[in-house]
Each structure stands twice: as C-alpha cells, then as structure tokens.
C-alpha cells in the first residue's frame, strides 16, 4: 500500500532522513518507534509532501502511484490521513466546520465525537486553541475518524494522555483500523496495549535501523529503553 524507497530529505538545510526504506502492505498495521529527534515526524511530513521537505533522492509510492512530488491535498484524496502530534492553532476556524467538511454528511459527527470522548460544544471552538494535551490528541483522532482514510498515520497519539483517555484513544484507533492499513508512531509505546500490530520498525539517525516482529522489539525497548538499541551494531554503524 505504502512503499518508500531510499528516501533522503532535507528540512531547512538539515538532513532529516537518509535513505529510508519502508513498506506497509495493504491490511497491515505497523508501528514506528524511535527516540526523540530520530526523524519519525519528518517521515510523516515527507509522506504528506509538505513544501518544507526537500526530497534529495528516493521515492514514495501509494497504491502503485508515485506520489513523491504530488501536492498534499491530492495525496490526501488518494486515501492518506494523519493525526498530528502538534497541530497548529487556527483562530476562527471551528472544529465543527472541519468535521462537516470531512464527513460530507455521510456520518454523524456527534456520534463520532462520543467515541473519542469529545463533548459536542467543542464543535464551536476554534481549532486547537486552548485545548489541553489530551483534547488535542482526541480531536486529531476524531478528525481522522471523520476523514476515513484507507491509510491512517497516527503521530504519537499517546504522548501526554492520561490513563482513562489512553484507553478511549486506544479503543477508537483499534476499531478504526480493523479493515484498514496504518502506521503508528510512538515514542513510549503505551498505546500498543490496545492494538495489535503486524510489524515494528525502529528509527535512528533519520533511517530505519531495524524492522521485525513487534513483540520482540517492543518488549525489549519497553524494558530497557532506546539505550539498548544504541548498543546494537546496526545502530552503531549508522552514527
């Protein structure tokens, strides 16, 4: 479904990705782990084609189509959707207006809001303005549920979220991804308690250092932290 080959990207003159190879086949859910600053979010903005991401080499294919130079909104129309980690505040643009644009009247936004524990009065609020950390995550996921992309990317949906809401978010994502494909980015891995993933990748220094069975990789990292990875010869080589 998503196939990234040898992707090297610069943002503001700084190399953030160096030769990334990643493939997520249709129907699979992968998790992307990695310490802060390893390039996880840069990979997402590159998949979306934000103009700040200058592609030096490599390509991105989605369902067989080369999307490497496609504008963001066209990629989104092909079926890519992202729940962002740090969405910008947009004064005067109401959450409800964006949701209505996304659902196009096909699904009930109010019901959807319930599944992410977002009160309906949020619909009249300015996008991301004055939202708490947990509210930001939940409204991002709500927008993604309304958007219904075939391929969903969740960027750190679990960071800064309390235990009760972690369960709400975990269940909502799990339900949503049942018949879809997706990429889940997490630094701490908390969300994985609620989700079954097919493959794990670990990112270091702007590239995928290793990929494999999620249980092995996740358990080790959860127990020993990324320090354990740093001792791995594969990672050492990348330095």
């Amino acid at each position: 479904m998503l196939r990234i080959e040898n992707l090297t990207v610069e943002i503001a003159g700084k190399r953030v990705l160096g030769g990334v190879n990643l493939e997520v086949p249709k129907g699979e859910i992968h998790v992307l782990l990695g310490p802060n600053g390893s390039g996880k979010t840069s990979l997402i903005t590159s998949i979306l084609g934000f103009p700040s991401c200058h592609i030096l080499s490599g390509n991105i294919r989605f369902n067989g189509t080369d999307i490497t130079t496609m504008p963001t909104d066209e990629r989104v129309k092909l079926g890519i959707g992202v729940a962002f980690q740090n969405p910008p505040q947009i004064r005067g643009v109401k959450l409800g207006d964006v949701l209505r644009h996304l659902t196009k009247g096909k699904i009930d936004e109010v019901k959807l809001a319930g599944t992410t524990n977002i009160p309906v009065d949020f619909f009249g609020r300015d996008l991301n303005l004055g939202f708490s950390g947990g509210e930001l995550k939940r409204t991002e996921i709500l927008q993604l549920l309304a958007q219904r992309p075939d391929f969903a990317i969740f960027d750190e949906p679990d960071s800064g979220v309390d235990v009760e809401n972690l369960e709400v978010i975990g269940k909502a994502i799990n339900e949503f991804l049942k018949n879809r494909s997706g990429l889940l980015i997490t630094h701490l891995g908390h969300i994985l308690r609620y989700l079954k993933v097919d493959k794990a990748h670990v990112m270091f220094y702007g590239t995928i250092a290793c990929s494999g069975k999620p249980t092995n990789i996740i358990n080790r990292i959860m127990k020993k932290g990324y320090k354990w990875c740093e001792r791995c010869p594969k990672v050492k080589k990348l330095r």
Binding site: L48, F50, P51, S52, P71, T72, D73, V76, K77, G81, V82, F84, P87, P88, I90, R91, G92, V93, K94, D97, V98, R100, H101, L102, D126, Q143, Q147
Partner: protein, 407 residues
C-alpha cells in the same frame, strides 16, 4: 466649545487630523428629489445594493426602517407592533417635532473639528433620528440605509440616536452607492446617547466604490450602567475612508465595545480607529479590530484608550493579516492613563497566513485555496459582533461572498 457660524466657516478649510486631505468643493451638490416609497417598491438595483449592506427589504425582519437617497428621506416608518416604543424619522423632521432634540445636536461632536464636520454643519442633508423610548425592548433590529445615486456627489448626513433609560435595541445601518457611482464624498455625523441602564448595539456596514471618499464623525455618550456596542464592517474597495469614533464612558459601570472588521483591497486607503474615554467609576471598554489588506491597500488601524477614573479598565486588541506584498498595515494602539488605578492594556499583531496552518488543513483534504479562504474567514470571525442570529447570517453571507466558500 465655540459654536458660532464664523468658526465653523473657518474650520471648512481645516484638514482632518488623519487621512488624505480632500477638496470638498470638488463634488456635486445638486440632485433630483426622490419621492417617498415603500421598501418593497424600491428599484431593483437599489434594493440589491441595500441588501449588500445588511438592509432587509422584507418589512417583517426589521422593527423600523429609514431610507435616504441622496438628500431625500424616502422612507421613515416604524412597524405597528413597535409604534410607541421606538421612533425613526429624518433628523430634520425630528428637530422640528421635538424642541428638546436640539440639546443633543452638535453636543458631543464639535462642528469645528475639521472641514468635514464643518461641511456637515453648513450643508446638511438629513440623516436619521432613532429614539428608543424609556423601558422599551425592541426585539428585532431597526435599520437605516444611506444611499447615493449620483456619481461625484457629496452627501452630508447627521444622525441622532437616543436610547432612553432602561431601553434596549439593535440598529443596523448600511451605507452604499448605486452601481453606476464611481466617485463621491459621504460625510456622516452620528451622535449616540445611551442613557441609564440602556443597551444599544449598533452595526454599520459600508459598501462604497473604488473612487469614493468617506468621512464619518461619530461620538457616543454612555450613562450609568449603560452598554454601547458599535460594530463596523467595510469589505469592499473605497478610495479613502477615515474615521475615529469616540465613546465617552461617562456613567458609573458604563460599558463600551468597538468591534471592527476591515478588508482593504485594490487601492483602498483605510484609516480607521476607535477611542474609548473612561470617565465613570467602574467603566469598562474594549476595542477589537481585525484588518485584512490585499492588493495595494493601505490600512492604518488606530485605537486609543484613555483612563480618567481610578476604577476603570479597558483592553484593545488589533490583528492584521497581510495578503499581498504591496499591501500595508500599520497598527497604532495607544493607551493614556491619567489617574492611578486605571488599567489599560493592548495587544497587536500583524503578519501573513502561517504556512503551517495551510499545510495542516491541506492534510485534511482542503485545497490550498480552500484552506486560505477558511483561514481568512476564520480570521474575520463575526462572532465578535455578538449579533442576533438573523443578522449574523446576513453578515456571514457577505464575508463568504467576498472570500469564497470552502464549506
């Protein structure tokens, strides 16, 4: 203040403190007389322009209507339901009918301020008188339309608005020109008296023409426990518009709020501000301005808060959005504290649309144009006006018509 005709005549030479100077003699004064008519029988082209400034031609949507074309007051009616509760008529008629009206005439606006106030005194062409009677709550808006039908014409109106004690009303005023009009000069003097415990919300919408000049001169006197909300919106091109309305919070616990939404486009020169003078104990003021400049527009967005009472508080907020490299916005917020204890504050920001906001919305499937339009319309958030739903819908429609509809 000196009120003699001599000083007024002298002031006719005096340029305004702000805005480009104009030769007031360069405009025509002669026009034909327009006979009285019903709002439903207005010529279609006039009715359509009136609609563009929020004037409803459906009688049931408004409590009363004043309609002036050039120098003629063609309509001055109050709906039967509201008769005895509010009055609406030309100021010429009102000054004849009520001797006491003179006490409010040229009382808070000085005719000697500049050539435009002097012009309005020397060559006065009607204007509207609106009186909301004591204790009356007018549940649907009153409306007034000032219309110019001739090119290169000069119209000088003088309006008088009195909200008597414990009354409440919404007024919408639309000022516009016939589609054939390109240039001209409109001078509008407005004196507002918001008496004890009254609440008046005044919304003014302008839609002029590319070579048209506009010089409103407005003052409001706000009494004990009274509230005055003044909303202003100008979205269409104009050659020059300069105004700096002032509200005196004279009464204890008086409240004033100025909300302004400006869109400067083409070669428009807008010099628009609001002043609040806090004189009463517990008086409060707020000025909120949103200004968008595109094409070659120049906008000076002024604001002045003056604290003259030790128990007074006011805030000024001005946000400017630049949509073109040739456009210009100068935010000039000023605070003057004359006594200790007054609390005055301001925040101002001028910038362009943040790239990350556009990208974020594009990641939700909006095209770049849709995303920009959504952000701009969000920036011009009419919720700051606090309008009743029907009026809010009309105003929203105007903004959507100007900035396109992504939704």
């Amino acid at each position: 203040m000196p009120k003699g005709k001599k000083t007024t005549l002298k002031a006719i030479e005096k340029p305004a403190a702000f805005g480009p100077d104009l030769d007031v003699e360069a405009f025509k004064r002669e026009t034909s007389y327009w006979p009285a008519c019903k709002i439903s029988t207005l010529p279609r082209d006039i009715a359509q322009r009136a609609l563009s400034v929020g004037i409803s031609t459906e009688e049931k949507e408004r409590a009363g209507t004043y309609f002036q074309i050039d120098h003629s007051a063609i309509l001055q009616t109050i709906r039967e339901t509201f008769s005895g509760k509010a009055e609406i008529m030309s100021t010429k008629k009102a000054l004849k009918k009520y001797r006491w009206a003179k006490e409010y005439w040229w009382e808070i606006v000085d005719a000697n301020t500049d050539k435009f106030t002097a012009l309005a005194k020397l060559k006065w062409d009607q204007g509207y008188f609106i009186r909301v009677l004591e204790g009356q709550k007018i549940t649907i808006p009153l409306q007034a339309c000032l219309f110019i039908s001739k090119d290169n014409f000069n119209q000088n109106v003088h309006n008088l608005i009195i909200a008597e004690p414990n009354s409440e009303a919404q007024i919408i005023t639309g000022c516009t020109v016939h589609p054939n009009v390109q240039s001209g000069l409109h001078v509008g003097i407005s004196e507002f008296y918001v008496q004890k415990n009254a609440k008046l919300t005044f919304t003014m919408i302008h839609n002029w023409a590319q070579n048209f000049n506009v010089r409103p001169r407005t003052a409001a006197l706000v009494d004990d426990d009274a509230t005055f909300v003044s909303n202003y919106m100008c979205m269409k091109p104009v050659k020059s518009l300069q105004m700096y309305p002032v509200a005196y919070c004279k009464g204890a616990n008086s409240r004033v709020r100025f909300n302004t939404i400006l869109h400067g486009n083409q070669n428009s020169h807008l010099d628009v501000g609001s002043k609040v003078v806090l004189q009463g104990k517990g008086s409060r003021g707020e000025i909120i301005t949103r200004a968008i400049a595109s094409d070659n527009a120049q906008i000076n967005a002024r604001g002045l808060l003056v604290g003259e009472h030790e128990d007074s508080k006011a805030h000024l907020e001005c946000r400017g959005l630049l949509l073109s490299d040739e456009a210009y916005i100068h935010a000039i917020p000023e605070l003057v504290g004359n006594v200790k204890g007054t609390e005055l504050s301001h925040e101002a920001a001028v910038g362009k649309i943040a790239e990350e906001q556009i990208q974020y919305l594009m990641a939700r499937g909006f095209s770049q144009t849709e995303a920009e339009s959504l952000i701009i319309r969000g920036f011009m958030d009419i919720n700051i006006f606090g309008l009743p739903d029907a009026l809010k819908r009309d105003v929203k429609r105007m903004i959507d018509a100007t900035f396109g509809g992504a939704l």
